[in-house]
Symmetry: C2
Subunit: 341 residues, 2 copies
DNA sequence: TACATAATTGAAAGCGCTTTGGATGCCACT
DNA sequence: AGTGGCATCCAAAGCGCTTTCAATTATGTA
């Protein structure tokens, strides 16, 4: 069943039927009723491809999913997607996901944009001086960046959390507890959030005349295995750190295992603060020693970005271009006074 | 730049240019070269919407992502998606993801199918007597089911792992180690894999004249929190089970925490076997007590399903309709002889 | 040389929708 | 009766591609 058939069935023109369906005002209410009734009876659905060709709108937002043989799938990605989805489903939007090799993201993004399959783009996993920004700017397609790109002019639409502030505050808390030996367990070095979190730690330490030793910093994928390895390394240092800052509860999972294996007690021998993306899988409050965290819901960010993206496509009012969310510092049992030596 | 402009530029007809681009044999090689060259220079990309309208093919596979406010995002889902993606990217396919309320999956799937946005469907989270099967059959669109639907005629295309066999084997191993008190920590009751795994346990036990007590079975979302709760419950039973079968390493994570908190030793007081989907996040071999598991890579399943789906759309040879993968039973330290009372 | 055959290319008809630019009829008002 | 304004509706022109059918030229064969 297509428009033509439907309109013949009704004895109307395609024009009128189309207008009736799309809520145009210049159609008689009685006629509209008839059309709607016929749609119900025949089960007519407009052909999306045709609609898209005619209007240029696709009703979808695009994103690139980094993936490759051997590439770790990322829990954080799934959670974020759920947030986007939650909002999209309210507006009858869908996603087009372009899987791409992580080394090929710029090209993949461009391909996605000019594929005509999407109305707007969502971009994540931002890096310092991210080359995608220039490309996006040249694209004349709405987009929102999740995160920011350290070193680039912040004149693009983004939603980010205050990573630097979060880790600054967390570090200050530990300083107040008397800690002087710090270690930072971070995400991959080139990623923006990792850079900012590091800066947050460094600047809080600097205020007390302290520095972050080179060996007290790890950059790795945020898996529990990497957390274990990094912590094992820290624990072997001659001047063992007593205060650990951790970029994810997933890393913390492994880190804590290492702490336990070394026979140390979390919250006493070692204090640890992790950033909590509010993954349903890992609740910091139900760790055996509940975790002190900086919290910001990844999912909520997904919802918000979807709102902005879809809103822009539907031209539903202006949205703030830049949003920076504060995180919450939630103190639980994994932090305590620095041990006395 | 569109086809018309490009063809005028080349002094050729749209027909010839189109054929040159799509690899038709009846075009002069020299001409094809010229066209390809011009494409490179102009950066011409065919409009997908038009292509789709003309051919009816979208170059994409569709899937429904269960999501709702408060709905747990599922690590397993992300991992599976990565597998699909890995294969899709090799064929320049993408996904269209339709987020939908879990209660609305049948309707969402139908909407997706008739939206004309996809060439094939992937379906997961199968339930017993799943109502989606009948719908899919009526659809005349290729699809592959991940899992099966207990109680339905198995005449649909699927890829599944031998859940019953896996848990049968695991249970037998524990029986051989002398265990007599079993508990099963399962996924949501209505899901097919949960039903089959339960059956596997029950039939292995039945061979020894044993039964699975009602209180020794839990059905819940596969998160570590649920694992903790279920295990705490098991440990309070008057006849405490010594052998635990667990539907996911994620559940096991919480379960083990409960075991530790109760001051019991894994592999001695309590033996545990978990099913391992090979999540990069959770490696059973790096648990503090390495986990005995039944293993089958979720990601590999994703790759394979994508192969079948894309292959079918491209009409690249026939594929087996039903595939049932065996799991591996990998013995590590979390299983040991039944304790003597 | 004449004719069948193969190799290349093109014109034009869709694919199913939206939207522009009129029609048409009806009414109120001069 | 003449005019302008409304409310409705429609024919037809795209949107940018693929594909059928046909035309043209080159090649080979009798």
């Amino acid at each position: 069943m297509n428009l033509k058939q439907l309109s013949e069935l009704l004895g109307l023109s395609q024009t009128t039927v189309s207008r009736a369906l799309n809520g145009y005002p210049e159609v008689n209410e009685a006629t509209r009723e008839r059309v709607l009734q016929a749609v119900k009876e025949t089960g007519y659905r407009p052909n999306k491809a045709a609609q898209r060709l005619a209007t240029g709108k696709a009703g979808s937002i695009g994103l690139v999913m980094p993936t490759a043989p051997g590439h770790q799938s990322d829990v954080h990605f799934g959670e974020f997607l759920a947030g986007l989805g939650e909002e999209a489903v309210r507006h009858d939007f869908h996603f087009v996901i372009m899987p791409a090799d992580p080394d090929d993201e710029v090209a993949a993004l461009r391909r996605l944009a000019i594929s005509g399959n999407v109305d707007a783009l969502f971009v994540a996993y931002m890096r310092g001086h991210d080359p995608r920004l220039a490309m996006l700017r040249s694209l004349s397609m709405p987009y929102v960046v999740h995160g920011r790109s350290f070193g680039s002019e912040p004149d693009y639409p983004y939603l980010d959390i205050d990573n630097e502030g979060a880790f600054y505050d967390a570090t200050r808390l530990l300083l107040q507890l008397g800690h002087t030996r710090f270690a930072l367990m971070n995400g991959p070095m080139h990623l923006d959030f990792a850079i900012r979190r590091k800066n947050g730690v460094i600047s809080a330490l600097a205020e007390r005349g302290l520095a972050l030793e080179e060996g007290c910093m790890s950059h790795a994928l945020m898996t529990d295995e990497q957390g274990l390895l990094a912590m094992e390394h820290f624990l072997q240092l001659p001047e063992r750190p007593t205060a650990i800052l951790c970029s994810s509860t997933v890393l913390a999972l492994g880190a804590i295992r290492a702490v336990n294996q070394a026979g140390l007690r979390l919250g006493e021998d070692i204090s640890l603060i992790a950033h909590d993306d509010v993954l349903p899988l890992l609740k910091p409050e139900s760790f055996s020693v509940p975790l002190t965290t900086t919290r910001s819901s990844l999912r909520a960010a997904g919802v918000r970005i979807a709102q902005r993206l879809i809103g822009t496509v539907k031209q539903a009012g202006p949205f703030p271009d830049q949003e920076l969310w504060k995180t919450e510092l939630i103190v639980r049992a994994s932090t305590g006074p620095a041990p006395k030596f």
